[in-house]
């Protein structure tokens, strides 16, 4: 029984995005054996030390611990109590007796047991709460109560009616309690899963179709994404390639040993720091995609310290300072309103880049252009893009339009494509993550 309590709690943690390995579960069991269940604060201290391995996980743990063990409290204060709960099964299983006795502890235990029978730990969505409450009522023997209720009605006497009314009230109250119980179980076991599900859903949704109310959640998502990328790519800058002897270094290091090479030095390859130059079309429909693209890049601040962002529609301007100084959402709104209102001119913007910021583009830099390439039939200045590609490490073009529309109407994408290392269609934030991942990987 005690084991079950712990296993269920670990399950609740896992559903809330706290990773608990089997080894840690065994550690937790050992630790609890050592500490005992008797003292609640001590139990909480123990579990948060063994199971939660970051401040965020500790916060989740505290929340769930309160939820979970407040529910379990009447049942598991000590092993002796557990035995008595087994004994009272026959009595506790019947709703009629419960309502009549009104014993809080008995009711709580019966609810707990009914929850287990109904498989409450499997609850995943808030819409399942009434269903599980219904199942719990059944497990507690609501049928017998209803039978009695009907009988009382059939008597057609004043007392019979009163008794039936009492039973109806009792049943309603019981249902409410079962509902509360199921709701709490949902918050313990299911809420995390629902969040995960919504996150999954949003990261696969087209960026252009996102609602404004999703923005906050997306922000959290993008930050998670950035963290994932940062962990993956913040390896060390130097890489030893064993196998290639560095003769000069070896000789120098071993001068003290009379030139006998005891300490060998190997040639080292230095890795470049990632440098990203983002050039973003902030007009019309592209703006929304730019918002998330820049959000992702700026969340990667520690991994990509060398980041320059430019925004353009008619003319091009550097926007890095605004984005760093102000709150991101406000800064983005300002950029879109100020720069994005002119008619799009890719040729002019490229030439602005050449005049003012050409020295920023060097062989360490990856240039990422985000735009639909619709330049209102102006000169696209393909020559400038070609020159840029020659200067930069790589040039990528991200297009929010699908490949079938490239080159249609005033789109110059097909002409630009020849001078880019890669041109891809980005639709969801997952696509953006993939692109940035690839760019960072190219610096390994």
């Amino acid at each position: 029984m005690a084991e079950q309590v712990l296993t269920d709690f670990i399950r609740a943690l896992r559903s809330a995005d706290v990773r608990v390995s089997t080894g840690e579960a065994i550690d937790a069991a050992n630790a609890v054996k050592l500490m005992g269940y008797a003292d609640r604060t001590r139990l909480s201290d123990t579990l948060r030390c063994v199971l939660a391995k970051s401040p965020a996980e500790k916060a989740t743990h505290d929340r769930l611990f309160d939820l979970y063990f407040s529910r379990k409290a009447p049942e598991t204060p000590s092993p002796e109590m557990e035995d008595s709960s087994e004994d009272s099964n026959e009595g506790g299983g019947d709703m009629l007796d419960l309502i009549e006795s009104g014993d809080e502890t008995q009711i709580a235990m019966a609810l707990e047991q009914a929850g287990e029978e109904a498989g409450l730990a499997d609850i995943r969505f808030s819409t399942q709460v009434p269903y599980f409450a219904q199942q719990m009522m059944k497990a507690m023997g609501v049928e017998r109560l209803e039978g009695q209720m009907m009988e009382a009605f059939r008597e057609k006497t004043a007392e019979g009616d009163d008794r039936a009314q009492d039973l109806i009230d009792g049943r309603a109250e019981m249902f409410q309690r079962a509902r509360d119980h199921a709701q709490q179980a949902f918050e313990t076991f299911g809420a995390g899963a629902t969040e995960q599900f919504r996150d999954e859903f949003l990261s696969d949704k087209r960026i252009t179709q996102l609602d404004r109310r999703d923005l906050d959640r997306m922000r959290g998502l993008v930050e998670k994404m950035a963290k994932r990328l940062a962990v993956k790519h913040s390896r060390r800058r130097r890489k030893k390639n064993r196998g290639q002897l560095d003769v000069r270094k070896t000789l120098r290091a071993n001068a003290g040993y009379d030139g006998v090479p005891f300490d060998l030095a190997w040639k080292q390859k230095k890795r470049d720091r990632p440098k990203i130059i983002a050039i973003c079309d902030v007009s019309g429909s592209v703006a929304q995609v730019v918002r998330f693209f820049l959000m992702l890049l700026y969340s990667l601040h520690d991994t990509v310290p060398d980041l320059k962002a430019f925004a353009f529609s008619g003319r091009l301007e550097e926007v890095g300072d605004i984005l760093e100084a102000e709150d991101f959402t406000a800064a983005m709104d300002r950029i879109i309103n100020q720069i994005g209102m002119r008619s799009t001119d890719y040729g002019q913007s490229l030439s602005d880049l050449k005049v003012d910021h050409w020295q920023a583009i060097d062989r360490r830099a990856t240039v990422i252009i985000l735009g639909d390439g619709r330049s209102n039939y102006g000169d696209p200045r393909v020559d400038l893009l070609s020159e840029m590609t020659a200067r930069a490490k790589r040039t990528l073009w991200l297009s929010p339009e699908p490949e079938s529309l490239w080159g249609s109407g005033d789109s110059e994408l097909l002409r630009y494509q020849a001078y880019c290392d890669k041109m891809v269609h980005v639709m969801t934030i997952k696509d953006l993550e993939r692109v940035v991942d690839e760019v960072l990987a190219s610096y390994n």
């Binding site: 550690d27 630790a31 001590r42 123990t46 030390c49 391995k53 390896r235």
Partner: protein, 331 residues
């Protein structure tokens, strides 16, 4: 598993309070959370990973544990590029070289009578192990800790500064308390050391490492605990001044500054104020000693305007408590 067999070599600690008292006796003011973690680490024989901002006493906890348990402390400071050679063991190249030179003359005698190349090679081979034995082994911190027969406290400091490769290498040490030297074999600790790892979160640590450790997060202390700590370190500070200076530092930490003052800086400040014969905080005094607390020019500039209100609030703190205890206010 290993937790059940009680061959840890230490006498088990029976209660969490015993730890709080024990650490207190060597001058470390513990909290319930810290003591619980130490209790678990000691009795389950698992490493503790301590995270938290700089200067909250992470390293000091390990040192205090060693002092209290009267066990030797082995410290391994991590940095980028740290490798097995510096952490585990190294062959004493110089000594090996010297011995080779010394034995050169002996070589003729040894080789005497070997007529073919093959026999001389065989004779030489029988000496080879001599050079790769423990007497030519230079133990580095990890090996030292493993070889302590009475048990020890092994502090692996700032693990987040080491490379991922090193972190992976540590896994064997942390889960099995053994190290492998290819030429000699596996060396297993008779008495597993109590391992403490600290991290400032410069880089996210790997899951594999976190899985093997208990996790303790130490944050800046609350006012009451900080007062206790300063009191333990600077015994001659007056009650009023102690209350005021801690309140001031606590207020400072809530501000938006680059580097928040750590506990050791509070202690330093307390010592400074005593040197200046201060009994009360006042604005001028705070202003002239602020560089003890804040180490960035920009931080000092940005709190400049807040000094007066913060100091006033801190002084009000003691007046309030004096009123509450019925102690007459100073005229």
């Amino acid at each position: 598993m290993s937790a059940s067999d009680n061959t840890t070599g230490y006498e088990p600690i029976t209660s969490i309070d015993a730890i709080t008292d024990g650490l207190g006796s060597v001058g470390y003011i513990s909290t319930r959370e810290i003591s619980t973690a130490v209790f678990l680490a000691h009795n389950l024989r698992k490493p503790i990973l301590i995270e938290g901002p700089a200067g909250v006493g992470k390293t000091d906890l390990a040192a205090s544990m060693a002092r209290w348990l009267d066990a030797p402390l082995t410290r391994l400071q991590c940095y980028e590029g740290l490798d097995e050679g510096k952490a585990l063991y190294e062959w004493k190249y110089g000594k090996q070289l010297l011995y080779t030179q010394l034995l050169k003359e002996k070589l003729g005698e040894v080789m005497d009578g070997a007529s073919t190349l093959e026999t001389s090679f065989d004779k030489l081979t029988s000496f080879e192990d001599l050079f790769f034995s423990e007497s030519f082994l230079e133990p580095r911190p990890l090996l030292t800790a493993m070889k302590q027969s009475t048990g020890s406290v092994l502090l692996i400091d700032e693990i987040d500064k080491s490379d991922e490769e090193f972190e992976a290498f540590l896994l064997e040490v942390l889960s099995d308390y053994q190290v492998t030297v290819p030429e000699i074999g596996t060396i297993r600790a008779d008495v597993p050391p109590l391992v403490v790892l600290t991290s400032n979160n410069i880089r996210e640590l790997g899951d594999a490492l976190k899985r093997r450790c208990l996790h303790l997060h130490i944050d800046f202390p609350d006012a009451a605990r900080e007062r206790e700590i300063v009191r333990a370190r600077v015994p001659n500070v007056t009650d009023d001044l102690l209350k005021q200076l801690v309140a001031f530092v606590q207020g400072l930490r809530e501000m938006d500054i680059r580097k928040r003052p750590s506990i050791s800086e509070t202690v330093d400040w307390a010592r400074t104020l005593i040197l200046m014969h201060a009994n009360q905080l006042d604005e001028a005094m705070v202003r002239s000693t602020l560089n003890v607390l804040l180490k960035h020019e920009s931080d000092i500039a940005s709190v400049d305007r807040e000094i007066l209100p913060l100091a006033r609030k801190a002084v009000a703190e003691t007046d309030k408590s004096r009123l509450a205890t019925g102690y007459p206010a100073a005229e």
